[in-house]
Structures are given as C-alpha cells and as structure tokens.
Amino acid sequence: MGEGKTLSTERVFPSPKKNMDCLHTKFLNVDFKNPVIAASGTYGYGREYENLYPLEKLGGISVKGTTLLPKPGNPVPRIAETPSGMLNSIGLENPGIDAFINNELPDLQKKDIAVILNISGNTPEQYGEIAAKASLQPGVDIIEVNISCPNVKQGGAAFGTSKEAAFAVTKAVREATNLPVMVKLSPNVTKITEIAKACEDAGADGLSLINTLLGMRIDVKTRRPILANVMGGLSGPAIFPVAVRMVYETARAVKIPICGMGGISTAEDALEIMMAGAQTFQIGAAIFADAYAPLKIAEDLSEWCRINGVKNISEIIGVCK
C-alpha cells in the first residue's frame, strides 16, 4: 500500500482508453467492472446521459425508485438549491413496476452493467409483490429496498426509522425473491446501526447508505417554504461527512457488505467512503453539476491505484480503523 499519494489535478479528460481492471469488484455476488454506481433518482433508467457517453462505462445503475402502481409525484417546486447541495421532493414519480419491466428492463438487460432495481411501497406486502414481479424476469441483478424516501407520506422513511418496520419490509422482500437484497437506509434516525442490524437479521444480503437528510428552506420574500411539499431530502457534498460517519459505524456493526453514498463527487470522496467500509458506492447529485462525474471518478480511482501500487481497489475497503 502506498503512502496515499494525491491525484494530480492536471489531466486530460476523457483520457485515452486505459486498463481499469484494478477496479473490478464483486458485490453481493454480482460482477461490477468498477465500483461506481449511478444513484437511484439521479440517472433515470440510464437513457438521458447516453447522449454524452455509453452507460456501460459505469459499474452499475440503480434505477429510479419503482412502486407497484404508477406514481405522479409531488407538486412543484420540487427542487431547491442549498449551500453545497440541494433539496429535492420528487415524491417517487415513476411509471410503476410493470412499465419498468416492459419498457426499460429489456434495453438495460442488453447492457454490460449491473442493474439495481430500487423499490418502494406502502406496505411490506407491496414491497414483496414488486420484488416477486422483478424476479420473474431476467435482467435485474440486485434489489435495493428503499425504506428511506423522505418525500412520501406512506411507507418510505416510516419503514426506515423503526427497527420493527425495517425488519418486516426486509423479510417480506427476502421471502419474495432469490435475487440479492440490499436495503437502503435513512440517515434520519438516532442509531443507524440498530436499523442496519434489524435488516441483517431479516435476511438482507447488503446495505446501501445514506439516503437524503430531511431538510427545508424558506423563501424570505414570500415567507413560505420553497418546496411545494414543504420539506425535502438534502443531497450533495454538504452531506458527505455524515455519510462517511454512518458507513464507518454501520460497517463495524454488521457483517453484510455496504454500498456507500451521500455527497460523493470526487475520487478522493470515493476513497474515503471505501476506507470507511463501503465495497461499492453510488454517485447522485454530483452528476447534475458534472454529467461526467462518474467517469472521472472511475478514471481517477484507477490512476490512484496505479500510483499507489494497489492491485485491486477492494484492498482499501474498511482500512480506516
């Protein structure tokens, strides 16, 4: 292991094709060509940014949060900027699991990329039903159980803030599918490790964290909340230290692997979250500021491995004691 040499800021992008084998990762028994995953809700179904570069440059994609029936989402404004980040209150707008299976999955399945289906429901049974539907089709590699959406009244964060509810939802999904199950945790709790353990006990194969932090902004001119839904989820670099802390704590509390996320926008951030204990990580809001962020991070990580004599990026997982 090297002395943690820092990356040069002088470089050409996109750079000539490089061997990035050092980034190959196996996570929940699924092959990832690199540990970079587009976070749910920030990358649609992978079509939008294909005007700039192929989706297959990424290790994986976690698709837009999917519910049993179509969901129109919340009223606008749904977006508010914050210092080093943003609030969103989309409200899980999505076309429903059947539309996903019929219209999006066939194209995703053809690509050399790990497909993570992010699911959300109002009851544990609904989560189970969606997972069962997805399992009947080839194409989905991992199910990410969202028990942490702060923007919907029913379900969402209600499941992610109670041990019992988190256990019940995880168990329902576990019993409905043979696919790897990863539960996405909410940071809006007193002890994230308790919820993490409940998910592990219920049979989760892995965890992803953190979802957004509940926040709010007020327009001082109108004296009203900026978001129509009053509150929303905070993401972006502002929440990164919280994510590092929670991944660090959780990695020490459970035996199952972790996919880290929350404000990652550079390769240095990615290294931090992996050193805290994450095996893979998701990039979200950073993509809005720089559409090439996931590619730059992958490229910089491989360069970091090269200059630090790291044969595979997995060597650094949890090295921070």
Binding site: L52, P72, P75, R78
Partner: protein, 257 residues
C-alpha cells in the same frame, strides 16, 4: 448534446440587469434549435442555471438572461474571453419547420427565445414584445434587424404601445393571417396567449420554465401538468426533456413531435 467549456466572444449589457453573451462554438450551434436551452454552471454554486438560447449563428450561439439571484449574477460577471461551462442544447424547441407565418408573443425576459425564431422567419414573422417599462425594453433593434415586424409595448405606457403583449397582439392578430402563435413569458401572459389562440383557432406553442436540477430528464424535478397551476397529472411531462416548448390542446400541455 455536449458538456463543455465554451468561450464567451462577446458580452453586451442590454440594460442594468440583462446581459447578452455570444458563445463561440460551431459544434453547439449546429445542434441548437430555437426554443432550446443551455444548463450553465455558476462557479461556486451546486446546480447549473437553465438559460434559453436567443440567437443561433453559423458558429455561435447567444444567450440573454436577467440577473435574478446569486447564480445568474456569477454568470453575468464573466467577461469576454472567459469560458462558460455549458450542458446543452437541451429540451425540445419550437416547431419552426411546420409553420409559415408565426406571431411571436414575448413577455419581458421571455422575449429572447423569440429572437431565434424571428431570425429564422425574417419578414414572415411578427413579434409583439411586452415589458414593464421603457427601462426593461431589450432587443428591439435585434428583432427589427431580422426583418420581423416588431411591436414593443410597455405596461406603464412609457414606451411603444400601451398595455401588455397579449392585449396588443389581440389588436393586430385579425389582419395577420398567422398560422401559429409562439409565446414565451410569465405564466399569466401565457394563459392569456393560450386563450387568444383558442378564440382565433390558431395553434399555439408556449415555452415554460421551472426549477430544475439535471436539465436532461433524469431527476424529474421540473414536472408540469396543466398550464398555470401546480396540479401534477398522470401525464409525466417535464419542462427540461418534454419541453420547455409545449403545444396546448383543451387547456392541457401537449408534447411536441
């Protein structure tokens, strides 16, 4: 679509708070259509700012925008020769190939997108542009230079015709033989323009704005439903990807082909 740093080769203040940048990129201009927008990075701010295109040259694209907050101020403070980090062109533009004789209605900072249409049609187009007062009037000479019949009006009667843009458009529309209305401006103006189009049985296309993050249809932040209210319908239309230009049928926004 491209994400790139592009050089500002001309900067012009149109009034105290409105600036025009001409951006030097043949690659960008070749892809851009009237009504599309760029999502522009403001240094030190997290989200990009969506700004619509005002002119499309052979190897330049120009944008006109008003300082509305910190982000637009940061962008406006850039100077000639500096680089602007843009993502674009984004969204669907106006159906300029489909119609022959458009009436353009622009309200305030909604006027710049109309200029790129006037450039396309020249003398075949008529523009009615409304502003708050004489100080707010922008781009009059630019419109006239295209050959477009241009009428400027102000709410406070301090310049040009008196009254708002739709009120004045109503007076001229009868003799114009227009086959479409293209409009951009505040929601109340757009609602009035839609009503006018319905009365005269002329198709209309309107350009909307909404707070957005990605600009490409990934985050779903900029949902829109019926025109003029907050109601989100099951139509799943989004300003950035399905718009910003929409048709209107029976009070409902319609995605253009």
């Amino acid at each position: 679509m491209l994400q790139k740093e592009i050089k500002i080769n001309q900067k012009q203040w149109l009034n105290k708070t409105t600036v025009l940048f001409t951006l030097d990129s043949a690659e960008l201009s070749a892809q851009t259509r009237p009504g599309q927008f760029l999502n522009i990075k403001a240094d030190g701010k997290f989200l990009r700012r969506p700004i619509s295109v005002a002119q499309i040259g052979t190897d330049t694209v120009s944008i006109v925008f008003e300082i509305r907050g910190d982000g637009t101020r940061i962008i406006a403070e850039k100077n000639t020769g500096e680089m602007l980090d843009i993502l674009g062109p984004l969204g669907k533009g106006f159906s300029v190939e489909k119609y022959k004789k458009p009436l353009l209605i622009g309200g305030g900072i909604g006027s710049p997108p109309m200029l790129s249409i006037a450039e396309k049609y020249g003398e075949a187009s008529t523009a009615v542009l409304g502003f708050r007062n004489a100080e707010a009037v922008i781009l009059e000479g630019f419109f006239k230079n295209t050959g477009c019949t241009t009428m400027i009006c102000t709410d406070d009667r301090s310049y040009g015709y008196a009254g708002n843009a739709v009120f004045n458009a109503q007076k001229f529309i009868g003799g114009g033989n227009f086959d479409v209305i293209f409009a951009c401006g505040p929601k109340v103006m757009l609602k009035a323009a839609v009503k006018l189009a319905e009365e005269k049985k002329i198709p209309i296309e309107i350009s909307l704005e909404e707070r957005m993050a990605c600009g490409v249809g990934a985050c779903l932040g900029c949902a829109c439903g019926e025109i003029g209210d907050n109601k989100i319908t099951q139509t799943y239309l989004h300003v950035c990807k399905d718009g910003p230009v929409f048709g209107v049928e029976n009070g409902q926004l319609v995605k253009l082909q």
